[in-house]
Symmetry: C2
C-alpha cells in the first residue's frame, strides 16, 4: 500500500511532467512557424493570416520578443474569457456542450469535495481501527478512508447521510444541467440561420418499384402523402467507389508534389521511385513521370466511374433526401410513419450535409437487424475476451518467434542488451497496439451497424467504448484478473455477493486510482495541449509538400474533439468521483483538479485549434446523462456491498432506496428533456416558418435546397452534376395518363390537391 | 410421485366435472327462461327477441322439446362455423384477436406434440436410468421424461436438436401470426366506417394560461400550429362527482322498483326499510316513500352539480379532444411533438369514446412519474411479499380471535363439528379472498398510474398479473416456499445456479402441472360456459326488479372478455408447454386439449354472449407476443440449467445461442410490426381521406364530431349540454385585437393562414 509520501512523489512527478508540457507548449506556441499548429481555427475562420513576411527573416520562424515568454501561462485566463454565447457562435454547440461536461464535473464535485473533507475525513480519521490492528500495513491514506471505521460502528450513519446528501446534490445539478442543455439546443436550433437540414428529411428503404425509378417513386409518394408540403428531393448516388478513387488521387497528388519539390530543390538529381507496394520494391522509374502518369490514369478511371454513376439507374440507392416547403412540413414528415409497413419509407431528420455518412444510406431492414445482432455479440466478446487473441500474439512475439520469421535478424537479437529490451518490451506491445486501434475497431463496428450520420456513429462508438472502459479499466483495476475471469466469477457468485466482492476492494484501490488520475488525467491533458503529433506532421508536410499558401492551408490539421473516446474517459473520472466520494474522500481533490485543468485546456483548444467536422447541436447530451446515471447506480451498489461487509446491515434497506430513486430520476429526466434532442417541436417550427415568411417573402427555397445534399465527390465545380432530378421540376405531377395512374396507386388521384 | 394411474383417475374426475358442466349448460341454455343469459349478444344486436308469449304458459320457461336435448353438444360445431371476417364484423377485432391466441396455441403445440411424442418419448423411455436406481420411487410418467436419460448420455443430443427445431417452429408461427394480426388490424382500421376517433387526438397537460380559458387556449394553439387541419375541439369536464351521483341514483332506483314490486304483489303489507347503513338499522320508514324522497333529493343535488360543472371554469380539466379536418391531420398531430416542453401539449390518438377513462385525463407529468414509481414499488412488494399480510390475517382469524370479537358466537363455535370446519376452512380463506380481489387491486394500481383509456388499463393490469402468475404460480409451484423466500434464495445464489435449481425440479413437477391443467384449465373453461353467477344474478333481478321489457334488457349482463386476467393465464399454459416440450413431452397433449377446448368455448361465448365495452383494434397483440417471448427465454434458460446438471456440459454453449436468437427475433418482430399497433401510417390515412372526399363530398364533419367526446353523464337527452365550445364556432380566430395578440403569442399572427 502506498503511503502519503509515495502519493506525494507521484504527484510531484506528474505535476512536473504536466508543467514541462505546459512550458513546452508556451514556448512553441509563440513561434510564428508553429502558428498554424496552435491557432488553426483562426486561420480557417479567415481572421488570422500567415505571419507577416516583413521584418527580419528569422522573426518569421522564431519569436524573439522576450516579454511574451514571461507571461507563458496567460493563455489560461484568455481561454476562460470568451463568454458562452460567443463560444457557441465561434465553435458550435457540440464543442460548447462538450466542455460543459467538465464544468458539470466541477459543479458536482467542488461542493462534494468540501463537504466530504469537512465531514467524512474527520469521522474516518478518528475511527482508529487500523492502528489497533498490528499485523496489517496501512498508510495514512487508508486512515482517511472508510476502512478506518470499526465494523458495526454508528459512525457509518455519517456515510449513509452523506451518500443521500451527495445523491440529491447530483440530482439537482444533473437536472439543471439537462434543462440548460435542452434550452440551449432549442435556442440554438431556433436562432440558427436557414440550413438545408431544417427543411429536409432523410428517407430510407424506398421500396423497389418495377415501373419507376427511385426518383420518380419518391416524388410520387410524397406528392400524394404530403401534398401541401412536399417541395423537392435529391436521390442518393452510390458514389463510394468514386469517392475512393478521388481519395487515391489526392494521395498520389501529394507524392507528385513531394517529388516535384525535391526535384526543384535539387535539380541535379532526378527523383526515382519503385513501382511496388509503398515504393519499397519493383522496377525503378522516374518519380515525377510515374506519378503524373498514374494520376492521368486515375483521372480517366474517375471520369468513367463518374459517368457510370450518373447514367446507371442501379447506382441510385433506395434512399433520398426529401425537402419540404416549410420546417413544419419537414418536422411532420420526420416524426410520422409513412407506410403501413414500418420498415419501408423510413423517415428521420436529415443530418446536416457535412454529417451524412454516405456509405450507410442503403441498408435494408432485415440486414440491419442481423448486423446489429452480430455487432452486439462481437462487442460482448471484444469486451470480455479481448485478452485471448492478445495473449496468443504475445506468445508468438517472443525471441524465438522473431528468429523463425526473420532469421537474418538473429545475430542482432542474440546480443544480450537487445535481447533484454525486446523481452521487456514485446509482451506489452500487442496490448498497447490493441488499445490504440480499439477506437477504430469500435468505429468500424458502429459503421457496420448502419447508422447514417457521423454524429450517431460517434455516439454509438462512445457507448461501446464506455462499456469497455467500465469493464476493463474500472472493474479490471479493482478486481485483478482479466475481464473473462471476472465474468466467470460473477456468473458463479450470487448477485448480492458481487457488490460485496467489488465493494470490499474499493478502499484498497484508492491510491492506485489517485496515481491513475494524475498520469492519465493531468499529464494526458497537458499532452493534449502540446499537440505533438500534429506539430510534427505539419512541419513534415510544410517541408516536403507545401508550395502555395493554399497547400499550407491544407497541410494544417486542426483536428477535432474526439467524442467517441474522450467522453467515455471523462465518464470514468465521474465514476471514480461517485464511488470514492463516500469511501475515500481524499481522492476527490485530484478529480477536481483534473476537471478544472481539462476545462481550461479544452476551452483553449476549442477556441484556437479544433475545427469540428459537423454540428449536431449537442445530440449527445442524453447519452452523457444516461452514463452519469449508470455511474451513480454502480457507485450506490458498491457502497451497499461495502457497508454490508462492515456489519452495518441496518443501512442496506436505506441504501437500496438510492438506486431506485436514481433510476426513477433518470426516467423522469428522460421524459422531461430527451425529446428536445430527438424531435423538433411543431410549435418552434411554425414560429420559424412564420418569421421567415414575413421577413423573406420572396425566398426561392427550391433553388436554395437544390444542391444541398449532393455527395461530396460531386461537389466543387464539377459540371456534370446529376440532373435526373430536374426532369420534372416544375410539374411535380404531370397530369399525363401514366402519372395519374401512378398517383392513384398511392390512393390519391386528386391532382387538384397537388396544384394547391 | 403420482403414477400413471393417479393421473388417469385425476383426468377421469376432471373430464367428468367438465362433462357435467357441459351437460348442465346444454340443458340450461335450451330453456327459454335462460335465453337472455346464454344469448345476450343477439338480444343486444336486436336480432333475437324475447321468447314468444303465445303457446302454453310453461313453454315460456321450460323447453319441452325432447329432440333438442339429444343434440346437446351441437353448439360446438356451430361455434366453429362462423368465418373470421364475419366474426370480426359481429364481435369486433379485440375478441377475434383474443381467441386467435388459443388458435396460436394449437398451431404451435400440435406439431410440437406430435414430434415430441414420436422422437423424445422413445428416447426417454429407452434411457432406463430410473429402473436401475433402486431406492427411488418413480412413476411411469417419469420414465417418459428426461429424468430417465442417464447423466452425460449422448441421447441429450436429441433433446438439444429438438429444442432448436421447436424454437424455430415457434419463431415461424409467431412471425406469421404477428404479420397476420398487423394486417388484420390495418385492414380493420381501413375498412371501418367513419369513427370519431379517426379524426380526433387527445391532448393532455394543456398548460394553464392566466388570460384564457382552457378551451380558448386549446383552440388558439391548434389554430396556430395546425392551421390547415384543425377543425374543432371538445373540452373535458371534471364530471367525476356528477357521475357518482348518477350511479347512486341508479342504485336507489333499483331499490325503489324492488319495493314497489313487493308492494304490488302483496298490497296488504306496506314494505318498510330502515334508514341506516344497508337497511340494517335505524328508524323504520315506509320504503317506497323513503326511496322516492331520496331520489328526489339526489335529483336536486345532481341538477346543482350539473349546473356547477357547466358554469364553473375550474371544472374544466386541462385536457381536450381536438378534432381535425382529415384523418391525415389527426395522424400528424398524434405522432408529433407540439411544444418544446415535451411534458405539455401531449398528443396521442384519442381512444374511441367508449374506451375513454374519464377520471384520468388530467394528471400532471410530475405527479404521473411519482405515481408510476410508487406503483412499481407496490407491485414489487405485492408480488414478493403478499404472503406476509395474509399470514398475519390468518394468525388473527383463528377460533380465539373470533370468540374475542364476536363473543355471542362462542357457544356455536365451541361445538366440535363446527370448530373443526372453521379450523380447516379459515386458514385458506384469506388467501382465496386475496386471489379473488387481486385483479381489482391490480386494476386500481393501473388506474393510479394514470392511463387514459380502458384498453390501456387492461393491458397494464395484464402485465402486472402476468408477473404475479409467473412468480407465484409457476416458480412458486416448482420451488416450494413463498415468493419472498425464493427471492431471498435467488439473491444469494449465483446467476448460473438459479436455472439449475429451478431446472432440476422441473421434471419432478410434471404430474403436478398436468393436474393443474386439468383442474384450472379444463374444468375452469367448462365452468366459464355455464355462467353460473350471471345466471343467478339474472334470475334474481328478473324476479325482483324487472317490470318492463326495458328493465329486462338492463338486467341482462352479457359480460365481456376479461383480458387483464385471462391473457396472463393463457400465457401460463404457453409457458408450461415451452418448458415441458423437451423435458416431459407427455404433458403436451393436455395442453393441446386445453387450447382446443378453450378455443371452442370462447368462440361460442364471443358469438353468443359477450358484449365488449370498447374496441381497441387488437392493440394488445404486441404484449401477447412479448410475453410469449419471455416464456420462451425462461424455458430455454431452465433447459440450460437442467442439462448442465445432467453432465451434458457440452450442450451449454449451444443452448446459450437460443435465448440470444430469441431476443433478437423479438427485436426484429418489434421493429417490423409493432408500429402497426401504435401509429397510424399517413399513407393509409390519406387513402381513406381521399376516398371519403370522393364519395361524400358534402359531409358535415364538424356536426358529426360535435358531440362525440362528451362525458357519458351528459349524454342521453340532457338538454343542458355544455355550450362553451360553440361560442366562437364559425370564426376560429376572430380578428379582434385580443385574439391577434393571443395568436402572436404563439408566434404566428398570420390570421390569413387561418382563413385558408
Amino acid at each position: 500500500m502506498a503511503s502519503l509520501q509515495d502519493i506525494g512523489v507521484s504527484a510531484a512527478i506528474n505535476i512536473l511532467t504536466a508543467l514541462a508540457f505546459l512550458v513546452a507548449f508556451a514556448i512553441l506556441r509563440l513561434q510564428p512557424i508553429n502558428d498554424r499548429v496552435y491557432f488553426p481555427k483562426w486561420y480557417l475562420k479567415g481572421i488570422r493570416g500567415s505571419p507577416t513576411r516583413s521584418g527580419p527573416f528569422v522573426k518569421q520562424f522564431v519569436n524573439l520578443d522576450c516579454k511574451t515568454y514571461i507571461k507563458f501561462l496567460n493563455w489560461m485566463p484568455a481561454a476562460l474569457k470568451m463568454p458562452e454565447p460567443e463560444l457557441i457562435e465561434h465553435a458550435g454547440l457540440d464543442s460548447t456542450a462538450f466542455i460543459r461536461i467538465y464544468l458539470l464535473g466541477l459543479k458536482i464535485f467542488v461542493p462534494i469535495t468540501f463537504l466530504a473533507l469537512v465531514v467524512l475525513v474527520p469521522v474516518n480519521w478518528t475511527g482508529k481501527t487500523l492502528e489497533t490492528i498490528q499485523n496489517v500495513t496501512f498508510s495514512n491514506i487508508d486512515k482517511l478512508s472508510i476502512s478506518n471505521v470499526p465494523s458495526g460502528s454508528a459512525r457509518f450513519w455519517a456515510h449513509l447521510v452523506m451518500a443521500y446528501v451527495f445523491t440529491f446534490w447530483i440530482f439537482y445539478i444533473l437536472y439543471n444541467e439537462y434543462k440548460i442543455m435542452a434550452n440551449m439546443r432549442l435556442h440554438f436550433l431556433a436562432s440558427e440561420n436557414r440550413r438545408p437540414d431544417q427543411f429536409t428529411v432523410l428517407v430510407r428503404n424506398v421500396p423497389p418499384d418495377p415501373d419507376e425509378s427511385v426518383s420518380e417513386h419518391v416524388e410520387h409518394f410524397f406528392c400524394v402523402n404530403h401534398p401541401d408540403n412536399y417541395l423537392t428531393h435529391q436521390v442518393v448516388y452510390n458514389a463510394n467507389k468514386l469517392a475512393k478513387l478521388v481519395e487515391k488521387k489526392k494521395s498520389l497528388h501529394n507524392w507528385l508534389t513531394y517529388y516535384q519539390n525535391k526535384y526543384e530543390r535539387n535539380p541535379t538529381e532526378k527523383p526515382m521511385t519503385k513501382t511496388g507496394f509503398m515504393g519499397l520494391w519493383g522496377t525503378k522509374v522516374d518519380a515525377v513521370d510515374y506519378y503524373s502518369a498514374e494520376i492521368e490514369k486515375l483521372n480517366q478511371g474517375e471520369a468513367t466511374e463518374r459517368e457510370k454513376v450518373i447514367s446507371d439507374p442501379n447506382a441510385i440507392v433506395p434512399a433520398a433526401f426529401v425537402s419540404f416547403k416549410s420546417r413544419w412540413g419537414a418536422a411532420v414528415c420526420a416524426q410520422t410513419q409513412q407506410s403501413r409497413n414500418p420498415t419501408i419509407w423510413l423517415t428521420e431528420w436529415a443530418p446536416e450535409p457535412r454529417d451524412v455518412y454516405w456509405a450507410n444510406l442503403a441498408v435494408p431492414y432485415f440486414e440491419l437487424t442481423i448486423r446489429r445482432l452480430l455487432m452486439a455479440i462481437t462487442l460482448f466478446f471484444l469486451t470480455f475476451f479481448f485478452m485471448i487473441p492478445i495473449a496468443f500474439v504475445q506468445s508468438l512475439a517472443n525471441i524465438e518467434g522473431i528468429e523463425r520469421v526473420l532469421p537474418f535478424l538473429k545475430g542482432l537479437i542474440e546480443m544480450p542488451t537487445v535481447k533484454s529490451v525486446i523481452q521487456g518490451f514485446l509482451p506489452g506491445i500487442a496490448l498497447k497496439i490493441f488499445l490504440i486501434i480499439l477506437p477504430s475497431i469500435l468505429m468500424l463496428m458502429s459503421k457496420i451497424e448502419g447508422y447514417a450520420s457521423l454524429s450517431s456513429l460517434e455516439r454509438r462508438s462512445a457507448a461501446k467504448y464506455h462499456l469497455f472502459v467500465l469493464v476493463n479499466v474500472f472493474l479490471g483495476s479493482i478486481i485483478t484478473g482479466t475481464a473473462f475471469q471476472q465474468l466467470k466469477s460473477f456468473l458463479n457468485q450470487a448477485p448480492t455477493e458481487i457488490p460485496k466482492t467489488v465493494g470490499v476492494s474499493i478502499p484498497m484501490k484508492a491510491t492506485f486510482f489517485i496515481t491513475y488520475i494524475m498520469v492519465d488525467g493531468w499529464a494526458g491533458i497537458a499532452a493534449e495541449i502540446l499537440r505533438l503529433v500534429p506539430l510534427i506532421i505539419f512541419h513534415l508536410k510544410n517541408t516536403f509538400l507545401v508550395k502555395t499558401e493554399k497547400d499550407r492551408e491544407q497541410a494544417m490539421d486542426p483536428g477535432c474533439l474526439d467524442f467517441a473516446t474522450s467522453e467515455p474517459r471523462i465518464q470514468l473520472y465521474f465514476l471514480l468521483g461517485f464511488v470514492y466520494c463516500v469511501v475515500t474522500p481524499i481522492l476527490l481533490p485530484f478529480i477536481v483538479v483534473f476537471f478544472a485543468f481539462a476545462l481550461m485546456v479544452f476551452r483553449h483548444q476549442i477556441i484556437n485549434v479544433y475545427n469540428q467536422k459537423y454540428e449536431s447541436g449537442a445530440t449527445f447530451w442524453p447519452d452523457v446523462h444516461r452514463r452519469l446515471i449508470i455511474g451513480m447506480v454502480i457507485s450506490q451498489l458498491l457502497l451497499m456491498g461495502l457497508l454490508s461487509t462492515k456489519n452495518a446491515a441496518k443501512s442496506t434497506p436505506l441504501l437500496v432506496v438510492l438506486p431506485v430513486l436514481t433510476i426513477w430520476f433518470h426516467i423522469f429526466c428522460k421524459g422531461r428533456f430527451e425529446s428536445a434532442f430527438v424531435k423538433f417541436p411543431l410549435e418552434d417550427a411554425m414560429v420559424k416558418d412564420t418569421l421567415e415568411r414575413a421577413t423573406e417573402p420572396n425566398l426561392n427555397l427550391k433553388a436554395y435546397l437544390q444542391d444541398a445534399y449532393v455527395h461530396p465527390v460531386f461537389k466543387g465545380g464539377d459540371l456534370d452534376r446529376p440532373s435526373v432530378i430536374d426532369e420534372e421540376e416544375n410539374n411535380p405531377l404531370v397530369p399525363t395518363k401514366r402519372n395519374s395512374n401512378r398517383s392513384s396507386k398511392f390512393g390519391s388521384g386528386r391532382s387538384s390537391d397537388v396544384e394547391l
